[in-house]
Structures are given as structure tokens and as C-alpha cells.
């Protein structure tokens, strides 16, 4: 028998979050580029979905993936000005507390710090969201924290 399922069936997750993901991507990329990014976002989510350990913070998780897909698209089209803004539209209190602290960080470090300490995700989940490895996610979070600490204490 399968272990008890603690995360919702993907179909339900997809139906619940697809409108929010498309909204975010349209805002970041415009209607046309948002379509490919939409598909890429949910394919990344699907790749990582079986490894999730619980079904909490799924909205934050998938919006972070969407942000990262958008960043990749913008990077590819050399719109470097828009690079720093990861996850900035999320209204969650946990994020809000970290928003100011992490404002000066690069997109990846910021996302890693927020997901680790704001949403309490594991490095494995963060890696999936950032399309990276757990080691790299840990590295990004720890570099981010170091920078914040340096800024606060200086």
C-alpha cells in the first residue's frame, strides 16, 4: 500500500492555483510570454510534487516557482532591470516581516531566505522551487543571512 497521502492530488492543486499563477506571470511578462511560462511553472511543480513532504504553503511554493520562471524568461530576454523582485507580490505576514530585511539581496538569495525562514520549507523544497539543488539552496540562504547580518550590525 501507498503511504498516507498528505499532499492534495495534483489536479486539485493545479485547479486551485492556476489562475493566480497566470495572473502573476501576465503581470511580470505580458500576456503572450506568460503562456509558455505558465506551462513551465506547472511542469516544474509537477516534477517536484512527488517529493513534497507536506501540503502546507503550496500557494507560496508555486508562486515562487512562477517568479523564478519569470526571472529566467526576463534574463533570457536581457531585461535585467526587472530581475530583483522575487516573490514581492505575496501578501503573507511571514513574508512581510522578511520583506524589508531581504530587500537588498539578490533574487535567489532572497527567495531562499524567505522560503527557509518565512515559510519554513526544507532545502529540498526550496531547491525544487528554484530549479536548483538542496546544497545550492542551503548556500544561497546562508549567504543571504550573512549579508543581512553584516548590514544590520554595520
Amino acid at each position: 500500500m501507498m503511504a498516507t497521502v498528505t499532499i492534495p492530488p495534483f489536479e486539485r492543486f493545479y485547479e486551485e492555483h492556476r489562475a493566480g499563477v497566470l495572473r502573476l506571470l501576465r503581470r511580470r511578462l505580458g500576456a503572450e510570454r506568460a503562456e509558455d511560462a505558465f506551462q513551465e511553472t506547472f511542469l516544474r511543480a509537477l516534477r517536484a510534487y512527488g517529493r513534497l513532504e507536506h501540503g502546507e504553503h503550496l500557494r507560496a511554493w508555486v508562486l515562487t516557482i512562477a517568479q523564478n520562471v519569470a526571472l529566467d524568461v526576463l534574463r533570457r530576454t536581457r531585461a535585467t532591470d526587472e530581475l530583483i523582485d522575487a516573490a514581492a507580490h505575496d501578501q503573507s505576514p511571514a513574508y512581510a516581516e522578511l520583506a524589508e530585511l531581504t530587500a537588498g539581496l539578490g533574487a535567489r538569495e532572497r527567495a531562499a531566505v524567505v522560503l527557509r525562514y518565512g515559510y519554513d520549507l526544507s532545502y529540498e523544497q526550496i531547491a525544487a522551487a528554484l530549479d536548483s539543488t538542496p546544497d545550492a539552496a542551503r548556500q544561497a540562504a546562508s549567504t543571504g543571512v550573512r549579508r543581512i547580518r553584516r548590514r544590520i550590525t554595520s
Binding site: M2, V5, P9, F10, L43, G50
Partner: protein, 185 residues
Amino acid sequence: MTISPDLDRRFREAAATLGLVDIGFDVVESPIGQLLVAASDRGIASIWFDPKPDEDLERLAQIAGPRVLRSPHTVDAARRELDEYFEGKRRQFDVALDLRALPPFTIAVLDELARVPYGRTTTYGALAERVGRPRAARAVGTVMNRNRIPIVLPCHRVVGATGDLAGYAGGLERKITLLELEGAR
């Protein structure tokens, strides 16, 4: 914000094509009503009467894993064979079956059930005998009742010892329709 049907379809197709889905499903129309048909990379995993979106998704996840996605593509082979069957053009199914997570007795009974020919009927007791458990007719009945791949695994061909129809998880009317289709009544 609504997702265009085209965008939705493209995602579902890509997910299935890339093999990222544990179990894909779709609703298939048939003369005995809508069927929720689900398949994994191993084969057809379930056919359920009267689709109930709320419960069915969880049940599918329990069979094969949480990556459950509606994707017409994954049940194409099953749909084609079911259509042919209902048109009277197919007497035997060729699609592979996914029987994972079922206990050994159930699998043994379903194996025997699969051998009952088109247009014939057998009894619960006869099936029990064939799996070497002659006194287990009642347990065989339970396996029939819980058969998650009806039609393809033809539990409609199993009747009571005195020739009465006994029961059918999808309702007796459907059992009668299937037997009539096969010319067994």
C-alpha cells in the same frame, strides 16, 4: 483570470507526454453513462461509474501517487478499446492493466475473471473453485463488488448459482445492458 482551454490543454498534454504524471484520467462517454477512466504508465488502473470529482481524485492518488492529472491523452488506448467494445466490434481487451496495491487473493480472482469469455457467464462459486478456494464464493463476491476495472475485467459475467443476476457495483441495470450487448441474455 480564466485560463484559456487551449493553454490548459497544452499543459495537460505536455505533462502526460513528459511522463510526469503518476496517474492520468478522463471522463469517457458510454452507453451505460459516464465513466471515469484512469491509467498509469503500467496500464488501466481504474474505471468508475458515475464520476465524483471530490472523492475520485483522492482514490486515484491512493492507487498510484499524488501526481493525479486529468489528461485525455493518457487514456486514449482505453477509450478506443471501450468504444469498440460498446459498438460490438471488440470481444477482448488488449490494454495492459495496473493492478498494484491489490492483495494476492484479489489478483488471483481477477486473473481468473479475465478468462471468462465474452458472451458467457460463470458463478461466484465456480470462480472460487478455479482459484483453489472452493468455499470462498462470498469472498469472490466481495472482490467482484470492489473490482476497480469493471467492463474490462468482466465482473458483469459473474452471476448467482441459480442463474439469478446477483448484484453489480454499478447497478443491476448496467449489468443487464452489458450482458445483452454480449448476447448473453
